[in-house]
């Protein structure tokens, strides 16, 4: 049974991907994609029911993985040659040499290492990848059809597109289930390659440029990963992640040595999660079709980075290094929230907000208390759902109105009522109680309070977060009174939106259950103490209490009452917007009565405060400071 489940979640996507690559028939593709999504979702749920496990597939697979490693490295090397990118070339060459030496000379006597192991953290990740990722793949069906209609391609490129999308899901599942670090390295490289191919999918000038940047940054991370693994093997004598975690305290006592590979691995995680100074690859990735952005930002790729950092957290708990990780995370959280506040491009806001939330997860891993790790895991889960939802919404909006600028979404409710409400749910679940994201943020801030600088940055960052979400939500509503036009939308686009919106609310409602059954056991496994007790479904500890159900009930009742009151508004009660008594509305566009009776439309825009939050203003400094923190982190041990 277990074999089958791991096969379905990891290997099946690889096989399906291969089929999709050669299949050119549209309807068959649709059926296969929906069926794969269904199977993946069911398999991930079944795996969750089964609980923790260890699995060693036949030894021949080890050889296959090694072969796969070299194939990927040669493909990347080839790309480096073709693009004449020195960084990619040299880094890949270094990886090839190191891997060759490691595989064939160092690992001579073969110690059997289980390839897969899963605890609740892995299982949560598999759920996120399989459910959110599959929904995005389904959304891709409708989206890509319309996308290619716009482009007037002579020959559909969808086989290639879905090949990499589905491959991505398999690779991510493999990554989070991997126990043997070399297996993890293979899947890690797979995701790098997939993201490169998908970012460059449209093959425009800018897509090529941005995909190349994504590649070199991730190859840098991949190199750090490989060297980290080799170094870790040298120190611990094993490649089994589970064994390293189990013996964690022993290494922590031994002191400094373990921190060098930890730094390399955490650094690899930071590049994958697009932390400063590597944030530009993720913001550049939005040139790709929307399902790609949604996938990269929510359930795959960037989550691999934070997964690794959270996974390793128990090993570096209580070290100076951990404090620096917290500091780095908190700084990136603040800096990228500020960058998000300066953007009017909807996808860029989402991108910076993703980086900001990932940074918060990293900060939690660095704070490294049971409560903070709980916050990190919950953030991974809730962020994946809400962020996927928001990306899919922006994609749907962009295809309809032809712009991703939030200024163009003013009064969207009158044009796309359903999508607007779903977007609103996405935004509110990102920033307000009683939803899961905010609860996790509450845990993060309360557990940070011992580290003063970290807390100051978290406080400032959360203020900025509210700023950029709130105004986006607000301007969507600036629509005149009246029945909005009914909205048409492909069912493969609409269904994922509805399902994700429902999940965003429903899983928040279930958060005490999620905590008790999924998060608390894994935290207790590595940290000995449980951070919260659950009484009547409310989170309680000596530090604080988060009363979920009373809040849900009271805010829910309040919201219901408010909606009921709002429904009572009739057409006769509608007033023209206030224009100082000089209003003149022409064609439904509100404005002023100008000289000679002319109509002067009223236009307004958000404050983007480019002098504070503009990319040109901030990016350079953010990168310099982030780099400085990284360098101090690296050499801090010597002090």
């Amino acid at each position: 049974m277990l074999d089958t489940l791991v096969f379905v979640t990891v290997l099946l996507p690889f096989l399906v991907a291969a089929v999709l690559l050669v299949l050119r028939e549209q309807n068959m593709r649709k059926v296969i994609l929906v069926a794969t999504a269904g199977v993946l979702i069911l398999a991930s749920l079944a795996m969750l029911r089964g609980g923790a496990f260890i699995l060693s597939p036949a030894a021949s697979y080890d050889g296959l993985i090694t072969l796969g490693d070299f194939v990927i490295l040669f493909v990347v090397l080839f790309v480096g040659f073709k693009r004449k990118n020195q960084i990619i070339l040299w880094l890949t060459a270094a990886q090839l040499v190191a891997l060759f030496w490691f595989e064939f000379f160092t690992l001579k006597e073969h110690v059997p290492t289980p390839a897969f192991f899963a605890d609740d953290l892995s299982l949560v990740m598999v759920l996120v990848v399989s459910i959110v990722g599959s929904l995005i793949a389904v959304y891709g069906i409708g989206y890509m059809r319309e996308h290619e209609e716009h482009l007037h391609l002579p020959k559909s490129r969808q086989p290639r597109f879905f090949f990499f999308i589905v491959l991505f899901l398999g690779a991510m599942n493999g990554l989070v289930l991997a126990n043997n670090l070399l297996w993890m390295y293979f899947f890690w490289e797979c995701t790098t390659l997939c993201s490169f191919m998908l970012i460059g999918h449209d093959d425009t000038e800018i897509a090529r440029k941005n995909s190349e940047r994504a590649l070199w940054m991730n190859v840098l991370g991949g190199t750090a990963f490989l060297f980290g693994v080799i170094l870790l093997h040298k120190i611990t004598g094993t490649l089994s992640l589970q064994e390293i975690l189990a013996r964690g305290p022993e290494f922590a006592v031994a002191g400094g040595a373990i921190l060098a590979p930890m730094f390399l691995l955490v650094f690899a995680g930071m590049t994958k999660s697009a932390q400063a100074p590597f944030q530009s690859w993720l913001t550049g990735a939005m040139v790709a079709p929307t399902p790609v952005s949604a996938l990269l930002h929510s359930s795959t790729m960037v989550k691999a980075g934070v997964y690794l950092i959270v996974r390793l957290a128990p090993i570096y708990a209580g070290t100076y290094f951990s404090n620096f990780v917290a500091l780095f995370g908190a700084f990136c959280f603040l800096a990228t929230a500020a960058l998000a506040a300066g953007q009017s491009n909807g996808k860029k806001i989402l991108a910076y907000s993703t980086i900001s939330n990932l940074a918060l997860i990293i900060a939690c891993a660095g704070i490294n208390t049971p409560a903070a790790i709980t916050a990190a895991i919950l953030l991974i889960l809730f962020h994946a759902i809400s962020k996927a939802l928001l990306f899919l919404c922006v994609g749907a909006i962009e295809q309809k109105i032809g712009s991703r600028d939030i200024e163009d979404m003013r009064g969207l409710y009158s044009r796309m009522p359903r999508t607007t409400v779903v977007t609103l749910i996405g935004v509110l679940t990102m920033m307000l109680p009683p939803f899961g994201m905010l609860m996790a943020k509450w845990m993060a801030i309360e557990s940070a309070h011992g580290q003063f600088l970290v807390m100051v940055m978290l406080a400032l960052g959360s203020g900025l977060t509210v700023l950029f979400w709130c105004r986006w939500a607000g301007i969507l509503l600036a629509s005149p009174f009246g029945k909005p036009v009914p909205e048409t939308q492909a069912s493969s686009v609409r269904a994922p939106l509805y399902i994700l919106a429902t999940l965003a609310i429903f899983i928040s409602l279930l958060s005490p259950v999620v905590y008790s059954y999924l998060v608390a056991p894994v935290v207790a496994m590595y940290y000995k103490t449980a951070p919260y007790t659950i009484s009547f479904g409310n989170f309680d500890s000596t530090m604080g209490a988060f009363i979920i159900y009373p809040l849900f009930i009271l805010l829910g009742l309040g919201g219901y009452f408010a909606v009921k009151q709002a429904r009572k508004v009739t057409a006769a009660q509608i007033a023209a917007p206030y224009m100082c008594g000089e209003q003149l509305t022409v064609d439904g566009k509100a404005g002023f009565l100008g000289p000679l009776g002319q109509h002067v439309p009223a236009t307004s825009s958000n404050y983007y405060l480019a002098q504070f939050f503009g990319e040109a203003m901030l990016s350079k400094w953010v990168n310099v400071i982030a780099l400085a923190v990284l360098v101090i982190m690296l050499f801090g041990g010597a002090l």
Partner: protein, 283 residues
């Protein structure tokens, strides 16, 4: 459990009444400072009762919704304060109300309302981090973010974190939109933005916003009261002196720009916090 529910209901009912009275006194003192006679103490209540009886007028349905959610958020945060809940949670619930107030303002194309909404966001950006810092400082002293933990202290918070009280005062001046930070909307009729973030609200919806404001006044003064948790008399004196100071500042200062507000609030707030925390750790 039962006592919590009773406290919650008391807070829900008494807080707006207290808020109305305090606002009435505020108006009288302000009038006195400006050599006017001023309205009766109960005038804010008369105003709201009259507003409630008026015919509702809104630009669109969303505004009506937002006005009601604003009251719900404000009322709920007062309830959380009086039932001894988590300070940070209370703050987040307060944010729910604030966010919906701004969303309501942004839902109208009127430029006055739009700019008011944007400025209100900047005000939030200025006071939110300060409040989190104050709450974290309180948690450093009490070892918990729960309001109930404050009442287990043997000596008032003011002794340990006096500078945080100033930070709180700064944040609260911005939160209550008192001059010099009445940037997004002013209680007084002398603003270039008409009523800024409130512009589009009238009749019963404006009444809702007034009631939400009463709740917020009580919340704010309740937070100040936490700094003298060991005796009722001391608490009342502290709150009264603080509010009097707020009124005087409101009357003697002119409105500042949001640039100044943002820089001074964050700058002063963080600096005072750092000094206070170092002092606290050194003790």
């Amino acid at each position: 459990m039962i006592s919590t529910i009773i406290l919650a209901i008391l807070a829900l009912v008494l807080a707006p009444l207290a808020g109305a009275l305090i606002t009435g006194v505020d108006r009288r003192i302000t009038a006195w400072l400006q050599s006017r006679y001023g309205p009766p103490i109960l005038q804010p209540m008369y105003d709201v009762l009259k507003l409630l009886g008026k015919e509702p007028r809104v630009v669109n349905t969303w505004q009506a919704l937002c006005a009601y959610v604003y009251v719900v958020g404000a009322a709920l945060s007062v309830v959380l304060l009086f039932t001894g809940a988590d300070l940070l949670l209370l703050f987040f619930v307060l944010t729910v109300g604030a966010v919906f107030l701004v969303m309501g303002a942004l839902a109208s194309p009127s430029p006055y309302s739009q700019i008011g909404g944007q400025r209100e966001l900047l005000q939030m950006l200025a006071y939110e981090p300060l409040l989190i810092l104050v709450f974290a400082a309180i948690a450093t002293v009490t070892g918990s973010f729960k309001v109930s933990a404050v009442f287990e202290l043997s000596r008032p918070l003011l002794y340990d974190i006096p500078l945080m009280y100033i930070v709180l005062g700064y944040a609260l001046t911005i939160k209550l939109r008192k001059s010099p930070f009445d940037i997004s909307a002013s209680q007084h009729a002398h603003q270039e933005l008409v009523r800024g973030v409130y512009t589009e609200y009238s009749g019963p919806f404006l009444a809702m916003i007034e009631i939400a404001h009463w709740y917020e006044v009580v919340l704010v003064l309740g937070l100040c009261g936490l700094f003298w948790s060991t005796g009722v008399v001391g608490m009342i004196v502290l709150v009264a002196v603080t509010y009097l100071a707020e009124i005087i500042v409101d009357n003697v200062t002119a409105r500042l720009t949001w640039h100044f507000m943002l820089k001074s609030a964050i700058g002063t707030g963080v600096a005072l916090t750092v000094v206070n925390m170092i002092w606290l750790y050194a003790q």
